[in-house]
């Protein structure tokens, strides 16, 4: 930090230099790279401190100043909305999609530190692009209980388990439809209550599966993940 400050006092305002120094100093907690860089730039008078007051940001800085996505963007967006601070959220490309799912929040995307610095100049004509996403429509599951023939007993057990949120053990010889039955349980359950909807995606986002979740099939398709099949 002291080295950086000396750099700045000596008049070095090169963005790449700042980025590379931050990269070397802060290899842990990479999401703080961007706020630190902005703080240093503000301290050296290169951006207006007042303009920083209405935004929150996170992002990892690459050696050349490019911004890299961070984990936990969704959790950050949810926390910012809950805090009711009326601030915009600036994030690197690659993690804005999941943050933009949170309605009622302005999320902007920056690919490079220099883009953000230009946007923060007074009377800037290069604002950062706003990323917006409508909540995707809930898609109907393609799995139907009707696909399973007979098995009225297990189907009854599935209905009871779905109604009460009860646990269920299916026992039987191979190939009798145990997996098929289990896969059709989500189709019997009512939608998750509104206040509980965010918990699993928030955990996933923090764990870094956010990129996968925002792929083409999106979070609205309820996937059954079985990473390795038995031979």
């Amino acid at each position: 930090m002291r080295t950086l400050a000396e750099f700045l006092e000596g008049g070095f305002s090169n963005i790449h230099l700042i980025a590379s120094q931050i990269y070397l100093l802060f290899s842990e907690g990479a999401r703080f790279d961007l706020p630190i860089a902005l703080g240093l730039l503000a301290a050296s008078g290169q951006i207006d401190t007042d303009l920083l007051a209405h935004l929150e940001c996170a992002g990892e800085l690459g050696l050349s100043g490019e911004l890299r996505p961070v984990k936990g963007a969704l959790a950050m967006a949810l926390a910012l909305r809950a805090a009711k601070l009326q601030r915009e959220l600036i994030l690197p490309r690659g993690c804005t999609e999941e943050a933009a799912l949170v309605q009622g929040l302005v999320v902007r995307e920056a690919a490079h530190l220099i883009d953000l610095v230009h946007a923060l100049q007074p009377r800037s004509d290069q604002p950062l692009p706003r990323i917006q996403r409508d909540p995707p429509p809930t898609c109907d599951t393609t799995l139907d209980l009707r696909d399973i023939k007979g098995q009225s007993g297990p189907k009854r057990a599935l209905e009871i388990a779905a109604t009460g949120g009860l646990s269920l053990l299916l026992v039987g010889p191979p190939g009798t439809g145990k997996s098929m039955l289990a896969q059709r349980l989500p189709g019997l359950l009512p939608p998750c209550p509104r206040q509980r909807r965010w918990n699993p995606p928030r955990c996933s986002a923090r764990m870094g599966s956010s990129g996968r979740r925002c792929g083409h099939d999106g979070p609205s398709a309820r996937r059954i993940t079985a990473p390795r099949r038995r031979p």
Partner: protein, 242 residues
């Protein structure tokens, strides 16, 4: 979008840390990612013993504690467990169309991979039998998921209106408070409980199932018929003493 509940189906080769949570600093596992959703464990006896035993706490409390030398963490893990298994190593114990190849000792060792306390915490156990060929080649004539889901939603709403949550989320004390058990039904329960030597946990789990069956039947009280059906769903594994 995420109004649809999560469905997590980890393979049985998943590590205990991946399933329950772990690492340093501790990170949530599959059981937390399945929060308010479904966790499907196929081939249940094939999961690591450590993982299976670690499921006991979240199945009971809806939370999991992870301790490492440098970090402690508590994660939510309120998931609905669905598990599937064969009754024995060859899979055909109790199959009228194919004889079982396993010795009684092999069956016992296989089933013992699931401890009594773990099985005790699973509400319903149901046998999925081999069907005669004419059923499999016949046309599909069962109810659609939509029809069943509508029934489920109505019954679930009855429970929520009565006690604020689904029956599976009731603690033992809350079960007693919201039961509305008819006298004959209670007498039946006591008789069966004594004969089968049920634990207190088993008793309350049967009550939760009976309350759910009564909700599906649109009944305000739990009648003996609801209790009778509930008892059927608490059977032991095939070939295992109750």
């Amino acid at each position: 979008m995420w109004a649809r509940r999560a469905f997590r189906a980890p393979h049985h080769s998943a590590s205990a840390a991946a399933l329950i949570g772990g690492g340093s600093p501790p990170r949530p596992g599959e059981i937390t990612l399945a929060q308010h959703g479904v966790l499907f464990l196929d081939e249940l006896p094939e999961f690591q013993r450590l993982s299976l035993e670690a499921l006991r706490e979240p199945l009971e409390t809806g939370r999991v504690h992870i301790s490492r030398s440098a970090h402690q963490a508590e994660f939510p893990a309120r998931f609905q467990l669905v598990a599937a298994m064969n009754p024995c190593p060859c899979g055909h114990l109790g199959n009228p169309h194919k004889p079982c190849q396993c010795s009684p000792d092999q069956v016992r060792r296989y089933q013992n991979r699931l401890s009594g306390p773990l099985l005790d915490r699973i509400d319903l156990t149901v046998e999925v039998p081999v069907l005669p060929p004419e059923t499999l080649t016949g046309s599909a004539d069962g109810e659609t998921s939509a029809v069943v889901a509508a029934r489920v939603a109505r019954a679930r709403q009855r429970a929520v209106d009565r006690q604020g949550c689904a029956n599976g989320l009731l603690s033992a004390g809350q079960v007693d408070e919201h039961l509305r058990l008819e006298d004959e039904a209670l007498a039946l329960l006591h008789r069966v409980s004594a004969r089968l030597s049920w634990s207190g946990r088993s008793f309350h789990r049967v009550l939760r199932i009976a309350r759910t069956i009564a909700d599906l039947a649109g009944s305000d009280t739990i009648a003996p018929i609801h209790v009778s059906e509930a008892i059927q769903w608490r059977r032991a594994l095939p070939g295992r003493e109750a």
